[in-house]
């Protein structure tokens, strides 16, 4: 039995197979419409989420399966003090697979250690968000045609932005990748990603504060939201939240085939006017998120579709 806790749980070859499956689902959705009939996905969301929870649920429903779960800790037995380990033992009796989001880092690993069903990490605090990473990889591969030889700008909250950490881990396994890390001083990439991944693997990167200066060199611009819920101090959040705003003026400096990605939701960091730019790929990214989660569910449940 396999889980998805970190984006590195799958080898590059396994990721290729997963993305090939997702692309086949995109091309032939009818083939997969009943692949998970009789199977149930439990969504254990201890933290509010719209996109990730609905994307997992849509993926299972598209496969002909069913879903159950809760969407906040208040409506679960966690409010009564039940541990993650106990909850997952119980859920293992109700469902065939589960997706868990938790505000505390490492909670999905605890779940996987005690589960008898596959566990998908749907985000744990500021730590990892591997299904978003799979979504990002599939989007880049589908729209750029490759996952190598790319200069990727990561912009915004690189400290608490778990999607950024997961994406760096995943892309660091491909050749010719360069990162431009664009953030204010206070929201720079944590040392455990910078030192243990980038420095250790000798991946070229630069840390800059100016988005304008970085724009012309980028093949991908990955924007992130400054997340209010990650700050202990409201004052710090207010100071940081509008540090970067991508607008049409800034887009003029970008390459004609650059892609703008964003894990969403956005707040102010991408002006609405950018949505109509053909390089804005963040809504297409959402659709790829459903395909890759369908592929992931099939893979973890070991369901084969001929």
């Amino acid at each position: 039995m396999r889980h998805l806790i970190s984006p590195l749980d799958f080898t590059v070859e396994e990721l290729d197979t997963l993305m090939d499956l997702a692309s086949d689902i995109e091309a032939h959705p009818e083939k997969y419409a009943h692949a998970c009939a009789g199977k149930k996905l439990a969504t254990l969301f201890y933290e509010p989420s719209t996109r990730t929870r609905l994307s997992h649920e849509a993926a299972m429903l598209n496969l002909g399966g069913q879903v159950l779960g809760f969407s906040s800790a208040d409506s679960s037995s966690a409010a009564k003090g039940e541990s993650v380990a106990d909850t997952i033992r119980m859920i293992s009796c109700y469902a065939d697979i589960c997706a868990i989001r938790h505000p505390k880092e490492g909670a999905p690993l605890v779940a996987a250690m005690h589960a008898s069903i596959p566990v998908i990490n749907a985000g744990d605090g500021g730590h990892q968000h591997p299904t978003q990473t799979l979504t990002d990889l599939l989007t880049i591969r589908s729209l750029k045609g490759r996952l190598s030889d790319l200069t990727i700008g990561l912009c915004g909250d690189l400290k608490f932005g778990r999607t950024v950490h997961s994406l760096i881990h995943a892309l660091s396994r491909y050749t010719g990748i360069r990162f431009v890390l664009i953030s204010p001083e206070e929201l720079r990439l944590p040392s455990y990603v910078r030192d243990d991944v980038l420095k250790k693997k000798g991946i070229p990167y630069e840390e800059v504060a100016s988005l304008d200066d970085a724009m012309p060199k980028l093949d991908i611009l990955y924007m992130t939201r400054v997340q209010k819920e990650r700050f202990f101090n409201e004052e710090d959040y207010v100071r940081m939240k509008d540090f970067y705003i991508l607008d049409n003026e800034k887009m003029k400096a970008a390459k004609p085939d650059m892609l703008v990605l964003h894990p969403l939701p956005r707040v102010n960091e991408i002006a609405v006017e950018v949505d109509s730019d053909p390089r804005a790929a963040y809504f297409r990214q959402v659709q790829y998120g459903v395909y890759i989660r369908m592929a992931l569910i099939l893979t973890l449940l070991e369901v084969k579709v001929c």
Partner: protein, 141 residues
């Protein structure tokens, strides 16, 4: 040199960094042992200038070498039997340690679920970096 009576059976932890013996006493829970423990602080050392030494008179299988390796793998462990050194143990950095140190990250799941074991994994042998298995926070002394 101060002379502390010789051991019949037990171990001598030599080449402890000066001033660190009490930390080791605490981590190895030597205070809980019902046996003779001698701590020598700031002993003269040709190699280190000053060093600490701990002598413990107890059965030799009572020493947790993994934990000691984590605290300081440069310590020399002399195993004593019948008042003679029968073995000098070389310490290694353990790949994983359990319930020795606690994760200090307030966002880690271990901060709210008290029953979980605190597990740290060696992620960089050269830099001697241990990270929390759950949240990957680096352990800082």
């Amino acid at each position: 040199m101060l002379n502390v009576g010789e051991l019949n059976e037990g171990f001598v932890l030599d080449h402890i960094q000066a001033g660190k013996s009490m930390d080791i006493y605490k981590y190895l829970k030597l205070g809980q042992l019902d046996c003779c423990v001698a701590i020598i602080k700031n002993a003269r050392s040709s190699k280190m200038g000053k060093k600490d030494i701990i002598k413990v008179e107890c059965p030799i299988d009572m020493l947790d070498l993994d934990m000691l390796g984590f605290i300081d793998h440069n310590i020399t462990v002399n195993i004593i039997q019948d008042s003679k050194i029968i073995e000098k143990k070389k310490l290694h950095l353990p790949k994983e340690i359990k319930d020795v140190i606690k994760c200090k990250n307030p966002r880690c799941i271990t901060s709210i679920e008290q029953g979980l074991p605190h597990i740290f994994v060696l992620t960089d042998k050269e830099q001697e970096v241990y990270r929390c298995k759950y949240c990957e926070e680096k352990h800082k002394w």
